[in-house]
């Protein structure tokens, strides 16, 4: 094996578009710059060119569910350091820093809520917490969301944004793929439904597990959703990649997703699907 055949498909840090030194509130597509409150009003979509900025988990939930209806679950789960992992810094430092930076305990928030008065369970990922990487806690939270949805007899709405499995948890991170898939299968056996919404970027282990298993799969415009990121593919194949490589529009063309939905229309689309998927009489 030559070293050019590096397999970094599961875990790569493909940040939401190369931002270089740009301010996070500067649009990477058209260079327009906004204040926080301006972006908040437009759901973090550039009013000028339509670029979808990454959205924090709490803001995503607020944009999706009925006001005041969200009840968070499993908020106290925290990662441990099963391998005593140390690269340039200890894993525990990275976790603490991520929690301070994001105000979140992990890269996923779950709970139950209503959308346009229809009850559902939601699980929302946050890319700003260690690249939305999936370790034991993300796997456990997602599994509990499946169980909670099954118990209540309501659909699960999952919003993913993740670079893949979390390297710092080694093989246990990989085991979150079969774990979350088994949870989805339990949910489906119980008569439940999964609506999977793919936000930029959803790659590696998350795309290769629950995010692809939605009964309905929606994606935001221009969201990167590929098993291997563009850099890895380019390094391996040395081909020129298509401009829309791995993007939601290309996945739509190839039949991997049901619809590309702009953020302003996401709530309405999810509400319609929830009504269609909910048991009659609910």
């Amino acid at each position: 094996m030559s070293s050019s055949r590096i397999d970094v498909s599961i875990e790569h840090r493909d940040a939401p578009e190369p931002q270089g030194t740009k301010h996070p509130n500067t649009c990477p597509q058209c260079d327009s710059h906004y204040r926080d409150d301006e972006l908040e009003r437009t759901l973090w979509v550039c009013p000028h060119c339509g670029h979808h900025f990454p959205m924090k988990a709490r803001a995503r939930i607020a944009s999706l569910v009925d006001e005041g209806s969200f009840v968070e679950e499993a908020a106290d789960l925290r990662s441990e350091d099963p391998l005593g992992f140390f690269d340039l810094r200890p894993y525990t430092d990275r976790l603490a820093e991520a929690e301070l930076k994001t105000g979140l305990g992990e890269a996923m928030v779950i709970g139950h809520a209503t959308v346009d008065t229809t009850a559902c369970e939601v699980s929302v990922m946050d890319f700003s917490f260690m690249g939305g990487s999936m370790g034991s806690v993300v796997g456990e939270k997602f599994s509990r969301a499946c169980d909670s949805a099954a118990e209540r007899g309501v659909p699960l709405v999952s919003v993913s944004a993740s670079g893949g499995a979390r390297m710092q948890e080694g093989i246990l991170a990989l085991m979150q793929l079969p774990k979350t898939v088994a949870a989805v299968e339990d949910l489906k056996d119980a008569g439940g439904a999964l609506i999977s919404v793919i936000a930029h970027p959803t790659t590696g282990g998350v795309l290769a597990s629950f995010a692809s298993l939605g009964d309905v799969v929606l994606a935001e415009p221009n969201a990167l959703m590929s098993f291997a990121g563009p850099r890895v593919v380019q390094q391996t194949t040395r081909e020129k990649l298509p401009d829309d490589f791995g993007r939601s529009e290309s996945n739509y063309r190839f039949g991997h997703i049901d619809k590309v939905v702009p953020r302003s229309e996401l709530r309405a689309n999810v509400a319609r699907l929830l009504r269609l998927l909910s048991k009659n009489g609910d």
């Binding site: 590096i6 397999d7 005593g84 806690v137 898939v181 290769a208 692809s212 593919v233 190839f254």
Partner: protein, 310 residues
């Protein structure tokens, strides 16, 4: 932390001693070997041990899936193609007789010489490979044949066509199908168990791992390139994420370690196959009396219990 770690270790050791999970444990020579393994588990695996496993797992003479098929199955009939668009040579699948019963076997296949390696795409499957695997699993499920999978891949192939044909979805659906099977299923990691492309064939009732195989979330080079920003630090990365069999056993990721001949499986492929066959037989004999829906329930529960958190 340290005491926690020790406690988990002791727990697993106790479980191992009471349950005959390991292949060929009935034979006294192998009981000794097992004992040695357990002693090594009680010690700390050194970084050197881990790197040695990485090298042996990738050894160019290491037996591959078809080397074991040839030695373990009678009347092997290979099934080809995903019934959609292609036959992916990185994954082989088929039916054969294992000790008197018909089984389905699926596994990644690497090539021996340059031409063969390219033909097998170095054991890196496209979505077509996983779809072929799935249709053979479904066939086994319909006919109540046990399923054996042999895992040996650096990872699923990261290419443009692979993405266009739905690599992520194919891997997800292979996992999902395995979670639904109502037949006894046994996986063994026989070389490299590289990330999602490996676990896609390993959501089984029993997960075994050869002594010198590795099972990991990412290749050591890939991890080093990302976290150390230098693929040359692969050794350091492997030491940090511990892909070796003993650590996988300790973390509950695998149920048993299949011993290899002294010096590695490549030194004596016949003996390696015999030891692997013993382990698979033992696992199947444990699983075959269990009712189908109970198998499925336990399998899901097993994987749903994996993870460490507070």
């Amino acid at each position: 932390m340290a005491t926690d770690h020790e406690l988990r270790l002791r727990e697993r050791l106790a479980r191992l001693r009471s349950v005959n999970l390991l292949g060929g444990a009935r034979l006294s020579a192998e009981v000794e070997k097992l004992q040695r393994q357990l002693e090594r588990l009680a010690e700390e695996t050194t970084d050197e041990d881990i790197w040695r496993a990485v090298e042996l797992a990738r050894h160019q003479d290491r037996p591959y899936t078809l080397d074991y098929v040839e030695r373990l199955l009678d009347d092997w009939f290979e099934l080809r193609g995903d019934r959609g668009r292609a036959d992916d040579h990185a994954i082989v699948a088929g039916l054969g007789r294992f000790e008197g019963r018909t089984v389905a076997l699926v596994g990644q296949q690497k090539g021996r010489d340059i031409k063969d390696r390219i033909d097998r795409n170095f054991g890196s499957a496209h979505p077509e490979g996983y779809r072929k695997a799935m249709r053979v699993m479904e066939l086994a499920n319909r006919h109540d044949f046990p399923l054996i999978t042999l895992v040996d891949t650096p990872g699923a192939y990261p290419g443009v066509a692979a993405e266009q044909h739905g690599q992520g979805g194919a891997i997800a659906r292979s996992h999902a199908l395995m979670a639904r099977l109502e037949i006894p299923t046994v996986a063994c990691i026989i070389g490299e168990g590289g990330s999602g492309g490996a676990s896609a064939l390993a959501l089984t009732d029993r997960v075994l791992m050869q002594e010198n195989a590795i099972y990991s979330v990412i290749s050591p080079e890939g991890c080093a390139a990302i976290l150390w920003r230098d693929a040359g630090e692969a050794k350091k990365a492997a030491a940090a994420f511990k892909p070796d069999a003993l650590h996988c056993l300790e973390l509950g990721v695998v149920d048993g370690i299949v011993p290899e001949p002294e010096g590695g499986a490549h030194t004596d492929p016949d003996e390696a196959a015999r030891l692997l066959g013993d382990a698979i037989r033992e696992s199947l004999e444990e699983l075959e009396p269990v009712p189908a829906d109970e198998l499925k329930r336990r399998r899901r529960a097993r994987f749903r219990s994996l993870g460490v958190f507070a």
